[in-house]
Symmetry: C2
Subunit: 387 residues, 2 copies
């Protein structure tokens, strides 16, 4: 096993930067087609997919379809039910290398593994093993990053590989990139967001139709916005994990998921919407964080909240995500986008793949996070607005 | 002169990646203070500022203030009126190296030059000279990138340096990062935006107060949203240049500023707003681009347009910027943020500086852009909505 890992570590070093001359601007659709990069004649970055679920299916279609980035080549698909799922595919997916053994992925020549299984364990073990095997990793798992992000990023740096997680928060909404790069030049003060598409679809459907929550959940299930068991979405666990990730990016803070006060959205009733309407508003599951750096004090929570009809959040319906970020110097920034669904997550994952492929020799330093001296949940004022 | 450039090219190579171990997450405010990076003991990235105007002033305050990123050190300021401006400063700005000779900046030991002079020429000459001198460059000049972007990015790649321009479009609104990285995984179809803060401030003030355009312009001037000569803003030239940049990022297209149909916003009258209000809307200067890849056909224009009161654009007031981006797979993404003002632009510039400092050895491939076979302006339908 060690020999395999060594081989992969060495093969990773074969890709010197001069061999990789790829476009830094969006060029999908302008590509000369699969095969090789015209500018350098170098080979494409090989991608292996772990997990052929909603996201994996969308991702594999994108990587073998007409808008596949020329710098990427999907070669392997690993899934527990590989044989059965492969049999349902047609060309070109059916002709890739399918396996139900994760070890096959580790010992293959893929450069990057996309981790798209659901849940936290053993997904974090997969990510760790992939990095140890000398692969870069793109993950869509917010639980993995929320619980193990700092350690895994440190491991990635040590391995000289990249670990990216744009698909874990916001789907197609480019919030991870906005916080990690675009707003690095500000000192951020607060962040409010709708981070869970499933619960937002449930709430906005209840608002629209006046129906009971069970009916709205069934509809969200039918549209694949949520799993058969929607509790992680409705309890706020999913949004809480995403919020932990955003606190690290926005404030440089290490927060444990258990430190986020989470109030359930599962008990919302039609009457709650009627009450909200009387106040000219509606209800949304809001994730909030604000950081007072001088006092090293963080306030962080997820809860169903009354929002005014005039607010951005009231206008975000269905499985959309949204975030309002306030910086000390730039003021208020807002971002919205499709937060749920295979195609939305695939956009985030492919953006990460393209970024890794662009500079395979890049070493991304692991973040240095600190802990807030004080962490609190909803204030009395905010509690009054919680539903 | 050649010897100086060679010296700088060599000194640039002294910074191997192992000496630069900086945070990839937002850490301003968590820094141990100026002097050195605690993780590696390496020196900070030296920054020289060219142009001490609105943006330069804001940037220099940020880089010497309490929220200065630990990876950056402002050492030089170059301005035509250096002596006079230096005399007006206090500690610490007054103690930096000031000069009115650009050559001093080129022969100094700065790693990155921030180009913050206004206008296109000779700003592009400055950028070119800085790259040839072995410096990386961060620019806020949309005209430089719109007119000379591809050539300058090619030069930067050849020099093994970076040229970044996040501050040139959108101010604090992270749209350049969103398009270049976060949405690289999609195939973008269209882009609509309010890209000029000054004209938006003028229009929204006319809407709010019912005043004549001259009064609104005077107010925008007083607030430093626009220069004494607001024509580049009101004619749509500023927004047109930014749109050219976004077309390259979003669609991989090379567009000349002269190919963008631009309709003036300078002739809007209070009566136009009354008419718009009767239709339950208002007026905004909109920049639009949509690309049909199969037909290699681009539609691109800037014009004052009627927008419905319910639309995102109607709610964007003052010097705010906004963009609505539609992708084939991710659907609709929106971004808003402060588009004008020194602090907003400084956020964008500092984000670029931090990114360059993070990996000084990175080589960013120049984009490979193609030309659209067909470029058109407003369609008849859109013309009907133009004011």
């Amino acid at each position: 096993m060690y020999r395999c890992y060594l081989l992969h570590a060495v093969s990773g070093l074969w890709y010197s930067r001069s061999e990789v001359a790829l476009n830094s601007f969006q060029t999908s659709g302008n590509s000369p087609g699969p095969g090789s990069d015209p500018r350098s004649g170098s080979s494409r970055c090989r991608v292996g997919l772990l997990g052929f679920g909603t996201i994996g299916l969308a991702l594999s279609r994108r990587l073998t379809g007409p808008d596949a980035p020329p710098s990427l080549q999907l070669t392997h698909i690993c899934d527990r039910r590989a044989r059965e799922k492969q049999a349902r595919q047609s060309d070109p997916l059916v002709n890739l290398t399918w396996t139900d053994r994760f070890d096959d992925l580790l010992t293959s020549d893929v450069d990057i593994i996309v981790e798209a299984v659901s849940g936290s364990e053993p997904a974090s073990d997969y990510v760790r093993a992939a990095l140890l095997a000398g692969k870069s990793v793109v993950t869509a798992s917010k639980l993995v990053i929320a619980h193990h992000g700092p350690a895994l990023l440190t491991l990635a740096e040590r391995q000289g590989r990249q670990l990216r997680f744009g698909a874990a928060v916001g789907g197609a909404m480019p919030i991870v990139r906005a916080l990690a790069d675009g707003l690095a030049g500000d000192r951020l003060l607060s962040l409010d967001g709708i981070l869970n598409g499933a619960s937002n679809a449930v709430l906005s459907r209840m608002d629209e139709l006046g129906c009971e929550i069970d009916e709205a959940i069934a509809d969200a299930c039918a549209r694949s916005y949520t799993d058969a068991d929607p509790s992680a979405d409705l309890e706020g666990v999913d949004a809480g994990a995403k919020l932990v990730i955003l606190c690290a990016l926005a404030f440089g803070l290490r927060v444990a998921p258990s430190q986020v006060e989470i109030r359930t959205t599962a008990r919302i009733r039609p009457e709650d919407f009627r009450t909200a309407r009387l106040r000219n508003g509606t209800i949304r599951q809001i994730a909030h964080a604000d950081y007072d750096r001088d006092r090293s004090s963080l306030s962080v929570w997820v809860a169903p909240m009354f929002v005014s009809r005039a607010s951005l959040f009231a206008r975000v319906t269905g499985p959309q995500n949204a975030a309002v970020i306030v910086g000390a110097y730039g003021g208020e920034i807002t971002v919205t986008g499709a937060g749920a669904g295979g195609d939305a997550a695939a956009v985030g994952a492919i953006s990460d793949l393209v970024a890794i492929a662009r500079d395979r020799a890049a070493i991304v330093p692991a973040p240095v996070l600190i802990e807030a001296r004080e962490i609190s949940g909803l204030s009395d004022h905010q509690l009054a607005e919680a539903v």
